[in-house]
C-alpha cells in the first residue's frame, strides 16, 4: 500500500529553523551591527552604559530563545529524515524556512512593535513606516514560503535517496 507523504514533518522543522534563523538575522543585524534598536530600547532607551547593559541582557534572552528554536528545528528535521514517508523536497523545506522567518517578522512585529511598543525597528523619524515595512517584508516571506511549499507538494524524493544526475562520459 502506498504511504501517504507526511510533508508536515519537513514543514514544521523548516518553520522552527526559519523562525530561529530569522530571529538571529534580526538580532545580529539590527540589534548589534546597525544598533537600531534593542529588545527593550523603547522602554529603557540605551542612553548610557547602565541602560545599554540592561538592554544587552534582554537581547541575550531573545537570542537564547532563537537558539532554542534552531535546536528544535534541527531535532525535528533529523527526526523527519528517519521516515520513508517524508518527502525530501527542497521546495517544501526552503518554503518552510521562508514561512518561519516571515511568521517571526509578522508576529514579533505586531506584538513587540505595534501592540506593546517595547521597541521599534528604526526609532525616530518615519518610525511607523519602518515598522510597517518590517511586517510587510514578513508577509512577503509568508506568501513566498506558501507558494514554494505548494509547489513542492508533488515532490516525492524520500530521505537519503540519490537524485537522478545525468552521467557524463569520462
Amino acid at each position: 500500500m502506498k504511504e501517504t507523504p507526511h510533508r508536515g514533518a519537513v514543514v514544521s522543522a523548516g518553520i522552527l529553523l526559519g523562525a530561529g534563523l530569522g530571529g538571529f538575522f534580526d538580532g545580529i543585524l539590527l540589534h548589534q551591527i546597525l544598533q537600531w534598536h534593542n529588545m527593550l530600547s523603547s522602554v529603557r532607551p540605551p542612553v548610557d552604559l547602565l541602560e545599554m547593559k540592561y538592554n544587552m541582557f534582554w537581547d541575550g534572552v531573545f537570542h537564547a530563545f532563537t537558539w532554542i528554536m534552531v535546536c528544535l528545528g534541527v531535532w525535528r528535521l533529523w527526526e523527519a529524515g528517519k521516515h520513508s514517508n517524508v518527502p525530501w523536497s527542497a521546495r517544501t523545506f526552503i518554503g518552510s524556512l521562508l514561512l518561519g522567518w516571515g511568521l517571526f517578522n509578522v508576529i514579533e512585529g505586531v506584538i513587540d512593535h505595534q501592540l506593546l511598543g517595547v521597541h521599534h525597528v528604526h526609532p525616530g523619524q518615519a518610525e511607523l513606516a519602518w515598522d510597517l515595512g518590517f511586517i510587510a517584508f514578513g508577509l512577503l516571506e509568508i506568501v513566498a514560503g506558501y507558494v514554494a511549499i505548494r509547489a513542492g507538494a508533488r515532490d516525492r524524493t524520500p530521505p537519503g535517496a540519490v537524485s537522478h544526475v545525468r552521467s557524463h562520459p569520462v
Binding site: T4, G8, I15, M39, T66, I111, V118
Partner: protein, 63 residues
C-alpha cells in the same frame, strides 16, 4: 582623532565587559527589579505562538 577614539575605547571596554564591577552588578539588579517576568513573557511570546503554529502544521499529510 584616532588617538581620541582609542582613548574612549580604552575607557569603556573594561566598564562594559566587567563581570564583577559595580556597574555590571547594578545592571543585573535593574534587570531583576524592573518587571522581570513581564519582560520575559514579551521575549518568549512570539516563539510560543510560532511553536503552536508548527505543532498544527506538523499534522499536514500525516495519516
Amino acid at each position: 582623532m584616532a588617538a581620541a577614539s582609542m582613548a574612549a575605547l580604552a575607557l569603556t571596554a573594561p566598564a562594559s565587559a566587567c563581570p564583577g564591577c559595580a556597574l555590571g552588578q547594578e545592571a543585573r539588579r535593574e534587570v531583576w527589579r524592573d518587571d522581570f517576568f513581564p519582560h520575559l513573557a514579551v521575549a518568549v511570546l512570539p516563539f510560543i505562538i510560532i511553536g503552536a503554529i508548527c505543532a498544527r502544521l506538523h499534522t499536514l499529510g500525516r495519516p
